[in-house]
Symmetry: C2
Subunit: 318 residues, 2 copies
């Protein structure tokens, strides 16, 4: 068992920033990451919209390493472990990992969300090099290009409309023969001359040679496969918030994201959330660091109040 | 008259980030700053808690210049002008400046807030070098030092308690003989052994030689002046949100800050706010950039909806 003041689950920009703020406030702090420091940020080729990095921006792995290093400099422990269970205990909140069990007097959930993958052949190989899950992040890299967007929900249509700013032509490929998006959004998409539709098709493979050249699609009605030429693939088939571990601990919304107040507090005292796991619309590094700072500040305040209340109780019992 | 899609008032981290996001979305965007790019950030000596800058952080002017340059790279116009009046017009919102009048279809208020100064002699000279207006920003630079905090409201007491993490001894200097802070906070301060009080005194001068050595205080009851030795001065005598120009345009709270929703929207459609001018508790660069990105994203969405509604209206009138 290892004890901390602030235990942070998830080592993406939100978790690392929360770790920076809590460590800098001289609290005994740990950030626990199961995979790679930086989270989704680390899998991003180029980030040109995180403020402070002009001249083409910074690479995702580069920014991840800068943030990791800075957080470590403030004494925060950075631990790689796979957490299997999180629960409330007398001392606060316990996260049982593979290597050890970690207990925090306050807990910050920054476990992120993962875009659902298509499961198409080549998808991993071209990720960040022609396959994207975020138009706000990568849109400008596709100026005057022909792209496809896979999906039929609100996000798919929303991002298709956004991509009309950059792309020359957009084809929405959807497995059904109608969209699931809000009617008003559908209407806007149907009236947009740059947006075309390929109904009742699924993407089976992403093909290219260094860069994306085509997607292999299959017509679900005829069963026929064919190649559809394209220069980029934006995937919007849903997001999975990583909240399986905390679903008993805090209130989640219908989509499975953690419900928070503006100060990062959740339905349970002492538990805070930040970053993509939170029910926010904008999933950007720029926004996640802000939320990490806010959640840490709230956790710091919570612990100050807790300490005072305990000191008072000790005083009274004397 | 110059016309823009998005007009941003204020060139601190929130305004520059909003400009980056709106410009990157290929909207015709201007950021108007009256003084120095970076705002309060530019007057800060060292920033060690903005994620992405390890090894001691980055200077305030340095980070300001990086952000300014990056925003300019996305085609956003950066204009120095002093705005005298802001009002709603047919085309959107007009800001009348000294050099020109700027009209934006959407408006983002990022004019910041200024900490009230003591007006003590030497205060400007030692700003960022022994005089601070932000414990979260500068606290760790005062580890094991003796400091004074000037003020008696919630912020003064809150930050005094926060500074007990770092400083060896803290004296709250207050012009009255009692605090204005919440009772519970007062109680905590009175019980904290590191915090002492100097009642009914004002600070008239900050003295030192390269670094702060003492404050000259005056006892308001006896009229007597004396030197009080200290290594740092934290000033909490209030904040002035820079909302004079927009008080007729959007709803402000009792403190004069702009009331916003989590997406940065205000009481008026098409007007958004971000950064310290917003009614947020945490006033940090880390948080301001996040709010700037959120407000810009909301403005982009607002303009998309506006364009579609107008196209529909034209269609119907044919």
């Amino acid at each position: 068992m290892r004890y901390f003041d602030v235990l942070i689950l998830g080592g993406g920009p939100a978790g690392l920033t929360a770790g920076l703020y809590a460590g800098r406030a001289l609290l005994k702090t740990a950030v626990i990451e199961r995979g790679v420091w930086g989270g989704q940020m680390a899998t991003t080729e180029d980030i040109e919209n995180y403020p402070g990095f002009p001249n083409g921006g910074v690479t995702g792995p580069g920014l991840s390493e800068l943030m990791r290093q800075q957080t470590a400099e403030f004494g925060t422990e950075l631990i790689i472990d796979e957490i299997e269970e999180v629960k409330a205990v007398d001392e606060g909140f316990a996260a049982k990992g593979y290597d050890d069990t970690y207990v925090g007097r306050a807990l910050i959930i920054a476990t992120g969300a993962s875009p659902r993958q298509l499961g198409a052949k080549g998808e991993d190989d071209f990720r960040g090099r022609g396959v994207s899950y975020c138009a706000t992040c990568d849109g400008p890299f596709y100026k005057d290009k022909e792209i496809v967007i896979v999906g039929g929900g609100d996000s798919a249509v929303d991002e298709a409309l956004y991509m009309t700013r950059f792309a020359k032509a957009i084809t929405i490929i959807h497995r059904r023969d109608e969209l699931r998006a809000e009617k008003i959004m559908q209407e806007r998409a149907f009236k947009e001359p740059k947006i075309k539709f390929l109904w009742s098709h699924v993407v089976e493979e992403i093909k290219g040679n260094g860069e994306v050249r085509a997607v292999q699609v299959r017509n679900l009605k005829t069963g026929q496969a064919s190649d559809f030429p394209t220069q980029g693939v934006f995937v919007y088939v849903g997001m999975n918030p990583n909240t399986g571990l905390v679903q008993e601990l805090v209130k989640l919304n219908a989509g499975g994201y953690v419900c928070t107040e503006r100060d990062g507090s959740t339905s349970r005292a002492g538990v805070f959330a930040a970053g993509d796991v939170d029910n926010v619309r904008l999933r950007q590094v720029t926004n996640s660091v802000g939320m990490g700072a806010v959640a840490a500040t709230s956790a710091i305040r919570y612990l100050e109040e807790l300490d005072f209340a305990r000191a008072e109780a000790v005083q009274r019992s004397k």
